[in-house]
Symmetry: C2
């Protein structure tokens, strides 16, 4: 991750006393965060928390620059300052971030609308660059804290005490059931990560898969696994953009990719669906979504996911599926499963934070700590949604009569309700 100038500022911080202006500004900021029961403390210990209930945590600011930054552009400055160490969080970072997320729930701000309107389109080149920014950090980095199969998307926990590995497999199985995959069918996967779903579908459901990705590190890893698992004849990993998918398939699947497409490319995405889903086919989109149209948090966009956009269900229905001639058959919101997935990731990340800090630097470790905590809070509070949408060509009968067999025990075993 590139170093921003702000990362180098913390050395210059001084412990000088807060002045009248500082106290007045701190009062304004304290008023904003007090409904979340979060206390603000300045560099000299000054604090104006006035609520009668005890605070759940404290934000400690190291200098005036951070104070002003948080007032002027909180979306960006919170992440930048925490990353640089100019903002400390006392108390449980997850609890504090979740409380701050709750008070931020509401209609998009003017600034967000403007940012949304100005967002650049993802060309073939910038899409490749953006994906590499995040996913080519090195397999070794992700291997430290993802599950053993390197699945970097929302898992599904039909039993709440499942391990992360089990929950990722349960997610794959839910997707295959929703798609009603049958042996011998052809599947195209747009954005295949380290290839785990593609390999799972070929192994467990006997389908042939073409899986697209533009992250070279991930593709190399996926191809090696396909060879090792003896399914290289049924799973082809292709180094290309989803817009270049050719051919017709029985099923289209995309997990955690639509967020990277960007709103300006929805017509291109729609065109891919129209071209590649057979008349008798169907598809599934699994993506991070929103209730209202708004850009991602500005800091996340700058530091973590450049070019990303989490669409509303309405945008996906109207701008991706309808122009492709697709009907929506089934939608499931799994946001609480993403919050649980992130809790697992945070726990694992925390257990390796020393080695991450040693290898990638303190700012990098702090940025990722904040990103994971912020994401858990976002899915836990309803700030972000996780949608799975099943669709089929409008004049094709839906692939299932009811959803019951998505939930039927396999081999007709009798099990109790899983709630």
């Amino acid at each position: 991750m590139e170093q921003s100038p702000v990362f180098r500022l913390c050395e210059g911080a001084t412990a000088r006393r807060a002045g009248v202006l500082d106290r007045w500004l701190a009062g304004r900021l304290q008023a904003v965060i007090e409904p979340a029961a979060v206390r603000l403390e300045l560099w000299d210990g000054t604090c104006s928390y006035a609520a009668t209930h005890p605070p759940i945590g404290t934000l400690v600011l190291r200098d005036r620059r951070t104070l002003i930054g948080l007032l002027v552009d909180p979306d960006v400055w919170f992440g930048e300052a925490y990353t640089a160490g100019d903002l400390e969080i006392r108390g449980d970072i997850g609890v504090v971030i979740e409380a701050l997320s709750r008070i931020a729930l509401g209609a998009p701000t003017l600034k967000e609308r403007i940012r949304g309107a100005l967002a650049a389109s993802n060309t073939l080149a910038s899409a490749r660059r953006h994906v590499r920014h995040h996913y080519d950090l090195g397999n070794a980095f992700y291997e430290q804290w993802l599950d053993r199969d390197l699945v970097y998307t929302c898992a599904y926990f039909p039993q709440r005490d499942m391990t992360l590995e089990e929950a990722q497999h349960a997610k794959f199985d839910l997707i295959c059931r929703k798609l009603r995959l049958r042996p011998g069918e052809s599947v195209v996967e747009a954005g295949c990560g380290w290839g785990t779903l593609a390999l799972y579908m070929a192994r467990q459901y006997g389908v042939r898969v073409k899986a697209f990705n533009v992250s070279r590190e991930q593709l190399a890893y996926a191809r090696a696994r396909a060879a090792r698992e003896g399914v290289a004849d049924r799973v082809e990993f292709i180094d290309d953009d989803y817009r270049n998918v050719k051919g017709k398939y029985d099923a289209f699947v995309s997990v955690g990719m639509l967020e990277h497409v960007g709103a300006r490319q929805f017509a291109a995405m729609s065109d891919v669906l129209r071209r590649t889903v057979r008349h008798s086919g169907r598809g599934l989109l699994h993506f991070i979504g929103r209730d209202a149209r708004r850009p991602l948090n500005a800091w996340i966009l700058r530091r973590i996911f450049p070019g990303a956009y989490a669409p509303t269900l309405a945008e996906v229905a109207e701008r991706v599926l309808t122009p492709a001639g697709m009907s929506v058959l089934d939608v499931e919101n799994l946001r609480l499963h993403y919050a649980r997935t992130l809790a697992h990731w945070r726990q694992r990340f925390a257990s390796v934070e020393d080695s991450v800090r040693a290898e990638y630097g303190a700012a990098f470790q702090r940025a990722w700590e904040l990103y994971l905590a912020g994401s858990q809070a976002a899915f836990g509070t309803g700030w972000m949604q996780l949608f799975q949408v099943v669709f089929a060509p409008v004049d094709t009968p839906p692939p299932y009569w009811t959803r019951a067999d998505m939930y039927a025990p396999q081999d007709h075993e009798c099990t109790a309700s899983t709630r």
Copy 2:
């Protein structure tokens, strides 16, 4: 149902020979319907069907006026002419209508867009008038061909060979499970028909229900049933518009009502949800929907459902749920279940068509025959959708962790998959 001038025209039809102009016009119309393998025959037996495969049915036109009407404004004239007897369908009316529906699938026409833009808003008064147009035809009419509980919405057939009565109860139970109703909770129902769902929820799930409707015939019937079933203390039937719902409820439910709200009243509908769903609450909308924004068939709008509009999922998400601060949790498309429901209704309607004709006249019987056949075709082909949407306030945890227990056998019985 009011009599249109066209209903009285058939007496004047003559058997004169088709001229050159008639044959030329018939050729144009035959070209349009030939992909559906439907043959066109003029009043003197003239026919220009040229396909090599045999036709699945024939449209027989009685006069030039009908021929021109079908070319100029097919949406309206087809229904008008069939109702008046100026258009006969030889062969299975259901098969012919379904085939014609398939060739009509496509983007909205300019005429449809203009009609959509010009659609009048449903005021409190016009909403009441429109509902009465259809639902106050007389309970005796509906009792002849609906199920014994008078349920006039899409049923749900978890087993394909269920009776219509069983399938309506299965639909109610699916709705109650999707809403996770618990004894003692309060439910508001907007548009309650003859009250069957309200009574079912109170009886089977122990909830208190306030059910709104503006059809007096339906309300009188529903109140009598509540008294007879001994649940009048838990179910209140209220003669008022959904926009006048007061109070806060644990659950909001509306089945087959949103279609009658009209696109211009979505903000009002949204406001009702915002006002009436408790913070810990949730709701379900069950409605006829479309893939793309377009008005209902013009004849259906004129003769069967004045003021109605079947929205897209995107419109409901963006214009009803998002402004109400609601997140979409679950969507299911049940269009094939509606096609099956309509097949049941058509069978029952056909068995009483003589008495309907005797009591309401031939034009009325033909209009309803066509409306039911057209609806079955629309849901069967994908021209129309049936959506069930579950939602909850954005900052409230979804009422369920997985959907599995919607499909768990009750009392943990072990049953085979129901497909």
